[in-house]
């Protein structure tokens, strides 16, 4: 190779509130590929970084949950477009991170892009599928609608560094929640790079916040945080999942326990469960009045 030119390495940074800060702690840890070759230094996020991310996610919740479902779909589709344009970058990062051949890494990245498209199409359909009118026995209009739960802490899968990540983040934000995501501890680089795509996809800052570091260290303050409404434990092992679920009970967070799929294959088309896990059902009643009650027909 005629590489007289020295390549420019990327400094990987967190993605919080639409910005790319380093960890406030100033800490980093070494990220290696599957053969233990050094790839980069990633931020080793602190409890304070986790709390800052929650503040950013809460701040973004009103706007994002209040956006039209159509608009959220447009933004999610835009994310797929941006990823498609940087496909080669993610292919290389996923191949390094997971020790995959180029072909296998490409399959992961393609599936991840398609997953954004899949969820982009869900934003304005989920309410019709899980909500609806209820035929109550009385003169009342009665409508149940799904609403986002709020701020969701997401422990991304540990092995599937990109497809797994997208598979847990996209359903959370598709419905209007905002997310604080903990990237795969061993392979955080594809997740940190995702922030660069999100920042250029019209996704409002703070809707998705991405932290790297020790999963257990960052997850503990999130599970106990009073302003976090739900937690997805996909990336937690059994012992950590139990510990976090106990902490989450303190303000009755909605808890999505680790599923058997976590260590397996994320390529299958998902169901709606990852969306409904972070939706609340609101039911509104209103009297209908009693036109025609006197027996006249129209």
């Amino acid at each position: 190779m005629s590489d007289a030119r020295l390549s420019v390495l990327k400094t990987y940074k967190l993605y919080v509130g639409g910005k790319f800060p380093r960890s406030e702690s100033g800490r980093v840890y070494e990220v290696t590929d599957s053969k233990q070759n050094w790839l980069a230094n990633a931020p080793l996020s602190s409890r304070k970084d986790a709390r800052d991310a929650v503040v950013a996610a809460r701040k973004a919740f009103g706007g994002w949950s209040g956006a039209t479902a159509y608009n959220r779909g447009q933004v999610l589709y835009r994310i797929a477009e941006m990823l498609e344009g940087r496909r080669d970058q993610y292919l290389a990062e996923v191949a390094d991170a997971e020790g995959l051949s180029k072909a296998k890494a490409a399959a992961q990245v393609d599936a991840a892009i398609d997953r954004w498209v899949w969820y982009a199409g869900w934003t304005d359909k989920i309410a019709q599928v899980v909500g609806g009118g209820n035929p109550v026995a009385g003169p009342f209009f009665n409508l149940s609608s799904p609403e986002p739960t709020g701020v969701v802490a997401v422990l991304a899968p540990q092995k599937s560094s990109f497809l797994g990540l997208v598979s847990v983040v996209a359903p959370v934000v598709a419905t209007g929640n905002t997310a604080v995501v903990i990237a795969s501890e061993r392979s955080p680089l594809p997740a940190l790079s995702l922030g660069e795509v999100l920042a250029t996809s019209d996704l409002p800052g703070g809707v998705v916040n991405i932290l790297s570091g020790r999963t257990a260290e960052i997850a503990a303050p999130l599970a106990a945080h009073q302003d976090v409404n739900a937690i997805d434990l996909a990336g937690a092992d059994e012992a950590l999942a139990k510990e976090l679920e106990i902490a989450a009970a303190d303000n009755l967070k909605r808890v999505l326990r680790p599923q058997p799929v976590d260590e397996a294959d994320w390529s299958a088309t998902p169901g709606t469960e990852r969306m409904t896990a972070f939706l609340e059902t609101k039911t509104v009643w209103h009297p209908t009045g009693a036109l025609g009650a006197s027996g006249s027909s129209y």
């Binding site: 599928v129 139990k242 009970a249 609101k282 509104v284 009643w285």
Partner: protein, 500 residues
Amino acid sequence: MAPAPAPASTPDPAATRAATPAPAPAFDYAPAPESRAVVDIAPSYGLFIDGEFTEAADGKVFKTVSPSTEEVLSEVAEAGEADVDRAVKAARRAFEKWSALPGAERAKYLFRIARIIQERSRELAVLETLDNGKPIRETRDADLPLVAAHFFYYAGWADKLDHAGYGPDPRPLGVAGQVIPWNFPLLMLAWKIAPALATGNTVVLKPAETTPLSALFFADICRRAGLPKGVVNIVTGDGRAGAALTAHPDVNKVAFTGSTAVGKQIARTVAGTRKKLTLELGGKGANIVFDDAPIDQAVEGIVNGIFFNQGQVCCAGSRLLVQESVHDELLDSLKRRLTTLRLGDPLDKNTDIGAINSAEQLARITALADQGEAEGAERWSPVCELPENGYWFAPTLFTNVTQAHTIARDEIFGPVLSVLTFRTPDEAVAKANNTPYGLSAGIWTEKGSRILAVANKLRAGVIWSNTFNKFDPTSPFGGYKESGFGREGGRHGLEAYLDV
């Protein structure tokens, strides 16, 4: 603008009536008691396990009293861990056959149960009023019709689960451990048992310690309906039996309705297991009255919202948020209305306000109301004679309440209304949402777009607009935030009992 004359100088009797004892009515109501003869309460009851009534393993019993008279109604077996284990085993044994039964057959059992409840509804209404203390008007016209309707509704789902939106042939979870409160004993039982059985689960249910009787009568109804042994098991007892049930390793599903504190404890108990959990917990519902609301209707809604079932309702409208400009007018009307409420014998058909369910609950309400006074809120009750025996608390409202007051933050679970004010819709929404709870809310305004805008911003599971405290088996019920998770009622209510 000239200042309004001080009330003291106003001769208008309507303005002074609210603050002074109501004049004795020209005519009083004659007593109109519902007959107790329709219900035959045995001196003692056992646990209902595997289709039989049995004593507790250690022979322990406890008494259940009528809250309106403190009369002992019956003696009931007190389940211990061994009894709970026996009930779970019976439910486990029954599960295989029950879940394999064609849905249409399960449906017919539930239809039978619904019909028998309808047939025996007056008896059950009287029983519930005796054991709980709530007025017969409510048990007869609200609790019992809803109980039967709930079984009828879920009966119809049993053979249609493929169409419920949870995929083809959704599977039951197994044994459901269910713990219910004392405020709507039989209705809460229906909310728990009907969807569980329709989806093919078997159940062990623990009724509240102070209201065990209607669940035991329900056990008899299950026998009459020919329900296979072990499909429904009833274990009476206190919190220890409930804890044993939710912690039992062979329970697949835990459903709890009750206090937020206990709900959190249960959430910790099931952490790290595969048990599916739904919780329906406390609330501090805001009832928001805008200045264009129809005042008379709003007053009826406020009264219904906080005095229905003596305010012992998780979705009660316990915080009244009134737009400042109509505060005085609304409060005058409300106070006038409260003077017409009739408190007394729950079995009397003209009674509006019955007894508080237990001495313990009465003490809690009393303490919180006293605290409201101590913290500077202004207390008011209509003149109201309380019976000598039993547990009673006069309808009470507090004005000059701020969001910092304990009575504006803590769930009182009694006939106590805290009145706060607001100026703009944004302020109303901010105050309504300023609580860790999120179960219910009310909106009173004639402006349709305002209803929709405010309903959209309220973080609560049930929003009643220009009405309050309406329930229906087709309508999902449940909370946001610390009011719990999962829904009961409607298609949504099936999910809690399906492996999805």
